[in-house]
Symmetry: C2
């Protein structure tokens, strides 16, 4: 343990240059650890992950004690119970974190995979090989389980990680990181491969965002506000994740029973996550039949329907504004509109979507083709719930987040998405 | 032709909000064109590229007249002749641009390629498909041929492009863009797929850099200063290109004849490009034999050797500073140092390299393995010249630049690197 960085900043009024020095020092230590990790064998990394899983379980008492303090502080500060609940750990949640680490240990190592390779006409042997990014920064909100998940995925993909959780989870995160570092070191992996970002308040995250050259990639995980601020302020390359204003479009040629099941599942299966549907679009040709059914069924499940004028003719539907069409509710609310055509649905999606997931329900091959071609989102579902956009569902085994940007990775990000590549070119004295 | 955007800003003192409005309006038109291009067939895109090639040749007189004005203005402003030369066009350079467009027409279409696909255990069919980014911004310096090259690569990969060349090439670029747009439109591709960024001075580029949501990717092509400023100021995702402080390391186990040939080729074959070598590192074990030969041979080719103390014992070698080790000379200069070990060479590279290309010359399998594993650059050469890091040499057919960043693309960027992907998931009413 290089202890000092885990202790709270002694002087809360410390000038920013002290914070900067501490954060950059952590990044420099991470770089050193990354150099070691980049050449570590899969066996060594998996042994460390198993040790880290065991370490979490062994440290349960400390972690739960630290978490209880965070929870008490949050409650005293009047934090809404839903957020306190995301913060709260128990033995089963710690077991869940440990299981996650073991699962990552069981996945193939992305590092060293040859992505493309050939022998050039002049005899040069060209290989494009997966390599770690190096140092990854994760800035995330309340849930302390992200600490273990992110550490595991980064370690397996050969990256050192700098973790910046929210201050409300500071004690929990520190207890988790302490256990992970101790376990990693016991398995021969440098403890500085997993580090908290030192310091309090907003300053350390700002230093992290400006640490271009020291930090290779920054991944914000949390609400739209957090992600927007990282994207705006960061000079380090960012992978934008997770804001989902997902649409379900019920086509003129839809099987309406299937459509009803998909709408209900997309909206109500787990309303608080990014792949839940937030907007329902219905083709005018099926509105008369479908609107009474879907409006009633959604309300039976406790959903408030924010509808356009046509939807408002259904009992209980409230009026939607344009803000509703842009909203990522993350709650039992849905905006709803009738559209005159598939193209109008696509236009609506282009204006309002966050580019996460859109679904079409249709029996028409041609409608599906046009929708899939025209909708530019990370995932497009045909006759399936938006809830399937998920690393676990896609079979990736582990997921660091769902990218909603177009650069590098788009959609659920597994281990390969946590790597870069390099070209290795072997000759026998080749010159031009 | 949507004429106004191609005309010079009427009032050079126009307030920035006018510039912003004009640039964003161009981006909005580009988005519309991108929607059409995204679903254009390869045949339609190739026909447009052929028409654009023909259009350039047909417009030769206008292009050369516009270029002559740029050249005259540059000369009157006292611009160095080397830069004026990069600016200057002639019939053969125009033919070269046209040939480039025809070559791109002959390449496979990256859009629609299925990168990965499987049927999930629950029967969902998962496909990851290449799609265009959408709207790409290119900010580049003097060479007007970039205008045609970038337009061709972007169009083939389904992207609309906003081109911001340097003001010294304004008239040349406008003449080229006018010819390209006219030809594209004649072949049925929206002319707004290729647009200049309107307005004068630095303001329009700054608007482009802040146009997140309107512009999907920004690619700066030019000197280190340009690239640094785009990286620092842009909220649009950037692909960093081309700064190369490339190293050649001559190992203890090197074939010294091969080493000499590779050093000379890497340094002198074309000193002004990013994959030219700028630093030579020699293992101490071969210094006595190799230094006299390499110092003499480099100087025979007109190269100034900026050496460390050991190198300075050779006649004609001048003293190197740390600035020399960081320099991207792009000229007949090389910094040179003796290192006690392969690990010391790797450490030197880690401190000074720009992450472009490093080469090792060695007959030792083990030395090559250690060097390749430890050096974290876009390309690592074993017994080959650094000059091979090039889209053409790698067989990509066309190249938009060489990425030196780790996100998205690293190394030479061909057509596939100008795309994103999306997941298309097809079910039969699947819900969770």
């Amino acid at each position: 343990m290089s202890g000092p960085v885990l202790e709270p900043t002694p002087d809360p009024l410390a000038v920013s240059s002290d914070v900067e020095t501490a954060v950059l020092a952590a990044a420099v230590r991470a770089r050193g650890a990354a150099h070691e990790l980049a050449v570590a064998t899969r066996a060594a990394k998996d042994a460390a992950l198993e040790a880290m899983a065991e370490g979490l379980v062994t440290a349960s008492a400390e972690i739960l004690a630290a978490n209880a303090e965070d929870v008490r502080a949050a409650q005293q500060a009047g934090t809404p119970e839903a957020i306190v609940d995301r913060l709260r750990l128990d033995r089963s949640r710690i077991e869940g974190m440990a299981d996650g680490l073991r699962q990552v240990a069981g996945l193939p190592d992305p590092v060293g995979e040859v992505v493309r390779g050939s022998t050039l006409p002049n005899g040069l042997e060209l290989r494009q090989v997966r390599v770690p990014f190096g140092v990854v920064g994760i800035i995330y909100e309340a849930r302390p389980n992200v600490t273990a998940d992110a550490a595991g995925i980064c370690l397996k993909s050969g990256n050192a990680v700098l973790l910046r959780g929210s201050s409300s989870a500071l004690r929990s995160n520190q207890a988790i990181v302490t256990a992970l570092r101790r376990a990693a070191a016991s398995a021969g992996v440098p403890e500085d491969a997993v580090q908290p970002v030192p310091g309090e308040g907003h300053q350390p995250a700002k230093v992290l965002m400006r640490a271009r050259g020291h930090v290779d990639v920054l991944i914000p995980r949390g609400g739209a506000g957090l992600i927007r601020s990282v994207v705006q302020e960061s000079t380090v390359p960012v992978i934008e994740t997770g804001v989902g204003n997902c649409h379900v479009y019920v086509d003129a040629a839809a099987d309406l029973d299937m459509a009803l099941a998909i709408v209900l599942n997309s909206k109500t299966h787990r309303p608080s996550v990014c792949n839940a549907a937030e907007t329902l679009l219905v083709h005018a040709a099926v509105a008369d039949t479908f609107l009474p059914r879907v409006a009633q069924a959604l309300q039976d499940e406790g959903v408030t329907v924010h509808g356009d004028e046509t939807f408002q003719r259904q009992p209980g539907v409230v009026a939607a504004t344009d803000d509703d069409h842009d909203a990522e509710y993350l709650s039992l609310d849905i905006s709803a509109a009738v559209v005159p055509s598939l193209e109008a649905a696509v236009d609506h999606i282009r204006v309002h979507s966050s580019g996460h997931t859109e679904a079409i329900v249709t029996d028409s091959q041609e409608a599906a083709r046009r929708f899939v071609a025209a909708v530019d989102s990370a995932a497009v579902m045909v006759n399936a719930s938006t809830r399937f956009t998920d690393g676990g569902e896609f079979g990736f085994g582990a997921e660091i987040g769902i990218s909603t940007q177009k650069l590098h990775a788009r959609g659920p990000m597994g281990l390969p998405e946590m790597t870069s590549t390099k070209y290795v070119v072997t000759g026998q004295g080749h010159t031009r």
